[in-house]
């Protein structure tokens, strides 16, 4: 496998132009990126886009089917739920929940994991032992089970979910980052910095951190999908984002009761949203992994 075969013509161009060119050449996942951008846009402008308040419905108008089904109307394009709330509006605000929880949880996990991974890999010795043993022990617990356990302790709220997901997923970061740091430590520029008398902290900040950022970004993209699925699962199980907030997982849990009597739109639409977002994040992550970081290919 070659990393990137630089075309001869591009070699003369500036590095930035070359990067752009490569990205255009090598199967850039355009559709996934557009979907993610669309979801982000919807999340930011939810207040302007949503036709109704997502949390208030009227019981007189419950279980309306989507507009194109018999009994549906253009007033509620994607129908209404069991308390008469507009499904489309809830989906739009749900995008905000997914984006906010997903991005911040990945940031928290990435922050903790990168920090501990660098410390563990660079300092070695007992620091390394402690961090890695804890990582091993925590990794023994399936992520979802661990998250449920934590959620059962601290109770459901949007903030808690972020903290919990960060707490569950930092271990994966720590592992990967530590491995990177171990190999960076052997590299010439780090050795030179040591010889030049730089302090450990300076080396970690100036020489190690910037060099593990690539991997951290790739991992973050891949993790975004995982975190969103976990958030949705927690919400589905009732220990995630508390009702009446419109989270996609929660909408599916609510909709499940209506599934057997034919209210399919309550589960199918949020399901499609989750699927699109997770697939897009994974496709982008996969591509980034191959492009940016050959070391991560085995992940």
């Amino acid at each position: 496998m070659t990393v990137t075969t630089t075309p001869l013509a591009a070699a003369a161009a500036s590095p930035a132009a070359r990067t752009l060119k490569l990205w255009r050449l090598e199967g850039f996942p355009l559709i996934p990126v557009l979907i993610l951008l669309l979801i982000a846009f919807v999340a930011v402008f939810a207040d302007f886009l949503a036709p109704y308040d997502p949390q208030i419905g009227s019981l007189a108008r419950r279980f309306r089917p989507p507009a194109w089904e018999a009994g549906g109307s253009m007033a509620h394009l994607l129908g209404t739920d069991h308390v008469g709330r507009d499904v489309l509006s809830r989906l739009i605000f749900g995008a905000r929940v997914s984006m906010v929880v997903g991005l911040t949880a990945v940031l928290v996990a990435g922050g903790i994991g990168t920090l501990l991974g660098i410390l563990s890999g660079y300092l070695g010795g007992w620091v390394d032992q402690v961090i890695m043993r804890v990582t091993d022990a925590w990794l023994a617990l399936p992520a979802l089970t661990f998250a449920i356990f934590l959620a059962a302790i601290v109770g459901p709220s949007e903030l808690n979910i972020i903290v919990i997901l960060g707490g569950v997923y930092w271990t994966r970061y720590a592992r990967v980052v530590r491995g990177e740091v171990l190999s960076l430590k052997q590299r010439e520029f780090v050795r030179l910095a040591v010889v030049a008398g730089c302090s450990k902290w300076l080396i970690m900040r100036r020489h190690i951190l910037p060099n593990v950022l690539n991997s951290a970004i790739v991992l973050a993209t891949l993790m975004l999908g995982v975190v969103i699925v976990t958030e949705a699962s927690l919400s589905f199980l009732g220990v995630g984002v508390p009702p009446p907030k419109p989270a996609w997982g929660l909408m599916m849990a609510d909709g499940k009761k209506g599934l057997m009597v034919g209210y399919w739109w309550l589960t199918v639409f949020p399901g499609i949203c989750i699927m699109l977002m997770v697939l897009s994040a994974n496709l982008l992550g996969d591509w980034l992994r191959v492009k940016l970081d050959p070391q991560l290919r085995q992940l």
Partner: protein, 306 residues
């Protein structure tokens, strides 16, 4: 070999210890443990009794000691809801989880191994891309989404399969497929990469030089070697499946351990939640240990390395 086993067992014990410390600390440090450990609606005296019983009036390490010894002796507390020892509940549900995991495992291997082989043999071709798409879908789709779509199709539209509960093999099909789907993708990926590695080996080259038909080269010489890591992973995953089925069991109302965990959350039955989590983690640590030791027996190089 002896030294290897001793060290490996030592690591596992350390992991178990750290896991228990983690769980203990999470319960004690984040807020007032009495709200978790004492039944909702208990009288002030009851709470006081409980505080004493759990040693909450004593230093943290004494509390941990009490906590750890109670676990080692198999006393995981009483369920608030069922009013029986949680361990009893756990073992009542375990056979159902095993049943589900076993069928899911069979399905995941039946899907994962052949598609992995096909992708490796036709690397870069149509089947390889199809396999990649499949594994991406398998690893991306939330289980409850797959489960609900199956219900919508097979129960609501076609009316072929029961949507929930337990009973015959028909009840098992959809939950097992939903659970197995994710693992099928993982098994496919591993089969593919391990097959590719083996196909590149000298002994496969020699098998071709001998003039063996391609079916024999792949089916005999390559496959047997390529399956070793897959079977290992499957062994670990069987235990993982028992412990991650919470979403699937909730969707299909399958009375396994995952469902027990879900009930624990919804009934605010904390001892049940704690029991499922602790036993799940321990089970996975133990199976990892067993697999490592087994591997060391099969492959002498691992012993020498460590």
């Amino acid at each position: 070999m002896k030294q290897f086993i001793v060290r490996r067992v030592g690591y596992s014990l350390l992991s178990l210890f750290l896991l228990s410390v983690t769980i203990f600390l999470f319960v004690r440090v984040t807020g007032d443990p009495t709200t978790l450990l004492v039944e909702p609606g208990a009288s002030p005296e009851d709470i006081e009794n409980m505080r004493h019983q759990f040693g909450l009036d004593q230093p943290l390490w004494v509390q941990y000691w009490l906590f750890a010894t109670s676990f080692v002796t198999g006393d995981l507390g009483q369920s608030f809801y069922y009013r029986t020892p949680v361990l009893e509940l756990y073992f009542q549900r375990l056979p159902n989880s095993l049943q589900l995991a076993a069928v899911a495992m069979v399905l995941s291997l039946l899907i994962g191994i052949p598609s992995g082989i096909l992708a490796a043999v036709r690397v870069g071709g149509f089947w390889d891309s199809a396999g990649k798409t499949f594994s991406l879908l398998g690893l991306s789709l939330p289980q409850f989404w797959v489960g609900l779509v199956l219900i919508l199709f097979f129960s609501v539209y076609l009316g072929w399969l029961p949507s929930s509960g337990s009973g015959g093999i028909l009840h098992l099909l959809m939950p097992a497929f939903t659970l197995g789907w994710y693992f099928a993708a993982a098994h496919m990926r591993l089969t593919r990469s391990s097959m590719l590695e083996v196909l590149d080996s000298e002994y496969v080259k020699l098998a071709r030089l001998k003039g063996l038909p391609e079916a024999l080269v792949i089916g005999k010489h390559a496959l047997k070697n390529a399956l070793i890591p897959v079977i290992t992973l499957a062994g670990i995953n069987l235990v993982v499946m028992i412990n991650v089925a919470v979403v699937v069991e909730t969707v299909f109302a399958w009375p396994g351990i995952g469902r027990l965990l879900y009930e624990g959350i919804t009934f605010r039955d904390f001892p049940v939640v704690q029991c499922v989590v602790v036993l799940g983690g321990s089970m996975i640590i133990v199976v990892n240990l067993l697999v490592d030791i087994l591997y060391a027996y099969i492959d002498p190089r691992i012993r020498l390395e460590s």
